[in-house]
Subunit: 132 residues, 2 copies
DNA sequence: ATTGACCCTCCAGTTACTGGAAGCCCTACA
DNA sequence: TGTAGGGCTTCCAGTAACTGGAGGGTCAAT
C-alpha cells in the first residue's frame, strides 16, 4: 500500500506518516521504486496513533503505548499509569485555562469597548495604575 | 539599570528579556561596557508583558496590546477585541481538554490496572477489537 | 509524448523560550 | 596587584509535533 492509501484509511496525513517513520514510530518497507510500502498493520498502528494523539498523549507516550499495545506480556497497570499521568496533566491545563478565562471574562465585561481610550484591560495588565 | 535588576523587578527572566529585545518588544539602550541599560519604563513594559503572557496572550497579541497601551489615541474597542478573540480561543481549548478528560477518565476507570494484559484503554485506542 | 496525480528528499518555519559554551566586565578582598 | 565571584555579552542548539514548499522522480492513462 502506498502512503496515500494508508493516509486515507488511517486518517493520518502523509506528512505526519513520514514524520512518524523518521522518529521511528513505524517502519514501513520500501518498494523497488523507492515508495514506502505499508501493510494493514501499519494502518492499524497509525489509526492507534491518531486516536492517542487526539486524546492528547505526547509522542513519547504514544511510543510507550504502542510498545505496550504490541507486548503480549504487558500488565494493564503500565497502561493505566501512563493514562493517569496524562489525565493529571490535562486537569492541570484545564485549571490554568479556567483561571485565565475567569480573569479575562471579568476584564472583557468591564471594558466599554467603545471609541474612548480608557480600558480596564490595559489597566489590569499595567503595573502602573492608570485612570484611578 | 542592568538586566538582573530589571528581571528581579519585573519578574521576567533575563533570557526572556533578551529574547523580547531580539523580537523587538523592548528596545533598551546600551552602556559603554556593552551592557543593556534599562529604565523604569522598561520594567513597566516587562511586567505588562509578564502579566499578559500569564493570561495566555500570544507574543503577537502582546505586541498589539503594548502598542495600544502606549497609544494615547487608542479606542478601548481595539483592546476588547483582542481580549475577546483570545477568550474564545481559551474556551475552545477548555472544551477540547474537557472532552479528552471525559474520555480518559472513563478509560482509566474501566482499566483494572493490575498484572494482566487486558486493557480497555488499549482496546479503545486500537481500531482492531481486542478481547471481544 | 505528455498530462496529472502520486511519490520522494531536504530545508525551513512554527511558538516562546531555555540551556549551555566561551568569553568580557566589575567589585571586593587578601 | 592578583584573583575569585558574580554578572554581563553573544551565539548555537534544542524543545514538540508537525507543516509548507521546492525540486524532482514515477506511474497510469490519453
Amino acid at each position: 500500500m502506498n502512503i496515500g492509501d494508508v493516509s486515507r484509511q488511517s486518517g493520518v496525513p502523509p506528512k505526519t506518516i513520514r514524520y512518524y517513520e523518521e522518529i521511528g514510530l513505524i517502519r514501513p518497507n520500501r518498494s523497488e521504486n523507492g515508495y514506502r510500502a505499508f501493510t494493514e498493520n501499519h494502518v492499524h498502528k497509525l489509526a492507534f496513533l491518531g486516536r492517542a494523539r487526539a486524546l492528547g498523549f505526547t509522542i513519547e507516550d504514544c511510543r510507550t503505548l504502542l510498545a505496550l499495545y504490541e507486548d503480549e506480556n504487558r500488565e494493564s497497570v503500565q497502561v493505566k499509569t501512563v493514562a493517569e499521568d496524562h489525565l493529571r496533566q490535562i486537569e492541570e491545563k484545564i485549571e490554568k485555562l479556567q483561571s485565565m478565562r475567569t480573569t479575562l471574562t471579568e476584564l472583557v465585561e468591564k471594558c466599554a469597548g467603545d471609541h474612548r481610550p480608557d480600558c480596564p484591560i490595559l489597566a489590569d495588565l499595567s503595573p502602573v495604575r492608570m485612570s484611578e
